[in-house]
């Protein structure tokens, strides 16, 4: 009898992982996922550039110097200047703001609306589920970039409209992922016990089910962040994103940059590197975060 109690106690304490501080969790993440940490460093670097662009940028990104068109990369202009004599480095720094703003808000809005719809459709089930899922099916029938293109064409080009255009195709994907996990969470005993205690449906859904979907939600968010930055660059490139003087990475690649590609390759080269690096950072971080957060993939 005594051994039984001890055993029960041992297994109970084994399942309860000790609460770790943020620093400990971060140190563990760096140790076990060096690639993910590298991604985090890239993201933090981008964030730093975006926040302090005003102080860090050596020149005004909007004002050109017509005496210095197509200047080669040099000590004064590290990444050279474009066809209006604007400093490419400064424009990339300010461009990080647009990329992060659009990337973060588009994936945040898309994933949040999608997650709420997923919880609603999985928790209530029945006709609500059927109706919402068929709606999501309709949205999923469009390739992501094509749907964003169509929405952007209706709304017209501006930064806010790009956020809306990119976030809508994210909604059905987030809804599917969250719905799948809510379907299993709904059957857990604590949900039943909460219902038995007389807790209302809305409270069960918001307080007991929603917090348990944070892992897939955060994974979706980081995965879509990189995709959203890429989509923003594609839309700006096609002339549906930010309008001309705005220093958006996609916009810097388009316009006259391709026609000057032989004469002044740095105009297109450096924004291209910035886009690739940013998306690469978010993908590395998102992948490692998924491994770290998903208990099924966690080793040891």
């Amino acid at each position: 009898m005594a051994t039984n109690i001890e055993l029960a106690h041992a297994s109970a304490s084994a399942t309860l992982a000790p609460r770790r501080s943020f620093a400990e969790v971060a140190a563990r993440f760096v140790r076990t996922k060096p690639l993910g940490a590298a991604g985090a460093v890239i993201i933090l670097g981008m964030l730093f550039l975006a926040v302090f662009a005003q102080m860090l940028a050596p020149y005004d990104p909007y004002v050109g110097d017509y005496g210095l068109q197509f200047a080669r990369p040099s000590a004064e202009h590290w990444f050279g200047t474009d066809e209006f004599g604007r400093d490419v480095l400064s424009r990339i720094m300010y461009g990080a703001r647009i990329a992060l703003f659009v990337g973060f808000f588009a994936s945040f809005i898309g994933c949040t609306i999608g997650a709420l719809l997923g919880v609603v459709s999985a928790y209530w089930g029945g006709r609500v589920d059927l109706l919402l899922e068929r709606l999501m099916d309709i949205l999923l029938a469009f390739p992501q970039l094509i749907l964003a293109l169509a929405i952007a064409s209706i709304l017209g080009p501006s930064v806010q409209n790009v956020v809306i255009a990119i976030s809508i195709p994210v909604i059905p994907r987030a809804a599917r992922v969250v719905r799948a996990s809510v379907l299993s969470i709904r059957e857990f005993v604590y949900v039943e016990s909460a219902r038995a205690l007389g807790v209302g449906h809305a409270r069960v859904a918001l307080r007991h089910i929603l917090p348990n979907t944070t892992a897939p939600y955060i994974i979706m968010l980081t995965a879509q962040l990189g995709a959203a930055i890429l989509a923003e660059a594609a839309l700006s490139y096609l002339g549906l994103g930010a309008a001309e003087p705005t220093p958006s990475w996609g916009l810097m690649l388009s316009g006259s940059a391709p026609s000057y590609a032989e004469k002044a390759p740095w105009i297109a080269l450096f924004p291209g590197i910035a886009i690739s690096l940013g998306v690469f950072g978010f993908n590395l971080f998102g992948d490692s975060l998924r491994d770290a957060l998903d208990p099924k993939l966690r080793k040891g």
Binding site: F142, I146, S153, Y237, L238
Partner: protein, 79 residues
């Protein structure tokens, strides 16, 4: 084998999305550039028709992907 076939469907969508950009970059006269030009000229009927066509193609490809599961794995039966 089956996950690879599944990827064909998703990759198809991704590549059509990429087509829009690639055809603009290399000035190829394809559906992708047609969409972009129609959008640029605010030609809504053309945009609508092309988006519908692309979505239709995407759905058909995914239907074929679903059907080929049974061909590659005889244990799968559709009732």
């Amino acid at each position: 084998m089956l996950p690879v076939i599944t990827l064909v469907g998703t990759e198809f969508a991704f590549l059509i999305g990429g087509l829009v950009v690639t055809e603009t970059v290399f000035t190829l006269n394809g559906v992708g550039r047609f969409v972009v030009d129609a959008v640029a000229h605010r030609d809504y009927p053309v945009v609508q028709a092309l988006i519908f066509l692309i979505a239709f193609g995407f759905v058909v490809v995914n239907l074929l992907v679903d059907l080929t599961y049974a061909w590659f794995d005889p244990r799968i039966r559709y009732r």
